[in-house]
Symmetry: C2
Subunit: 205 residues, 2 copies
């Protein structure tokens, strides 16, 4: 098969997950991944900067999609609704591209390594930063933009983990909507009755 | 001065910040820190596992205080109010122990190093994990416990950064209360009027 085969990237990802799971992340080399995928080492490095990027290479595309969707939400959308649209979009891609089995395998490899967990935290932190920037461009002030971005990424991360590790397959977007509803419910619990005007009830008042 | 002087730890912290700021974190050794503090290397290692811990050594005590305060909140307190009490307690300690000047110096050193930033993310992730455990022990289910813990730590982190980097000294606890009120306001914005009964309005409904 040509090294330019359109599915080279996907084959490398599949081969890498199999080798990481079988031999351990640390003991697997880029050359071995390429070989298992029926490709050569140079092809590996055209697709990924290093073996770690096989696990994290999708995050840039997810970030772009999140940013574009939030930026493109109607001007009338509230900040949280714009953000929810972005989470819905990345949920759709995660579910419909490589799907839950791939995500499960990837997750078990990341969880087994402190280095990979740090990398995951870093990627999530970048995602939150990009989301906050996008919200600011929609006119959301600080600290609201950063707070909402952190909440959005927490909702995404926790929903993703539930999707991956739950006993049965559920819809990732449904899990995300549930978590967002949970956040609304938790933050509304302050023992005060919300005002009928819909004005937010300040805890600090 | 005796190496058992009660303020040895604080002197080491001060000396370390001065050296990190002046010579850079990477080029400073534990021996140099001890020497500048008028102590010996062995004393340094009685207080800190390594030079990195000079910057992060306080986080264990903060975590204990957070956990104890949240666990000790009245049984009648809502989850978010129990969490707010915990954030108030750690805000008080941060403000009244070494204070804002120390926090500013520490922050500028952490911000300058990718390694230290990763460590900071890790510590915050541990703090969120401990807070989620404590909320679960108060009877909060999943995913609510993790979601609320992530929100709490985001509120703390963003308030802390505003406290440290703002143009004028403000009360850290006041900043935390403002951020929590902002979260309530943001999550209440869904274009629906909250019900007069105070029941949470679900976005997913």
């Amino acid at each position: 098969m040509s090294r330019w085969a359109p599915d080279a990237r996907e084959r490398l990802e599949t081969a890498a997950l199999e080798l990481f799971a079988h031999n351990g992340y640390d003991r697997t080399t880029a050359s071995e991944i390429a070989e298992r995928a029926g490709l050569n080492r140079a092809t590996f490095f055209r697709h990924f900067a290093d073996k770690r990027e096989v696990l994290f290479g999708g995050s840039g595309r997810l970030q772009d999609l999140l940013v574009q969707t939030v930026a493109g939400a109607p001007a009338s959308a509230t900040p949280i609704d714009a953000m929810a649209a972005g989470l819905e979009a990345i949920g759709t891609v995660l579910q419909e591209s490589r799907g839950r089995t791939f995500a499960r395998q990837r997750q078990s490899i990341v969880t087994a390594s402190a280095e990979l967990q740090e990398r995951e935290l870093n990627k999530m932190s970048s995602l939150a930063g990009a989301l906050a920037d996008t919200l600011r461009k929609r006119g959301v002030d600080e600290p609201a933009a950063r707070l909402l971005a952190e909440i959005g990424i927490a909702v995404f991360r926790i929903s993703f983990e539930r999707w991956v590790s739950g006993p049965r397959a559920r819809d990732l977007r449904e899990l995300t909507r549930e978590s967002l509803a949970e956040v609304r419910s938790l933050t509304a619990q302050d023992g005060r009755v919300p005002s009928a005007s819909g004005a937010p009830v300040s805890h600090a008042a």
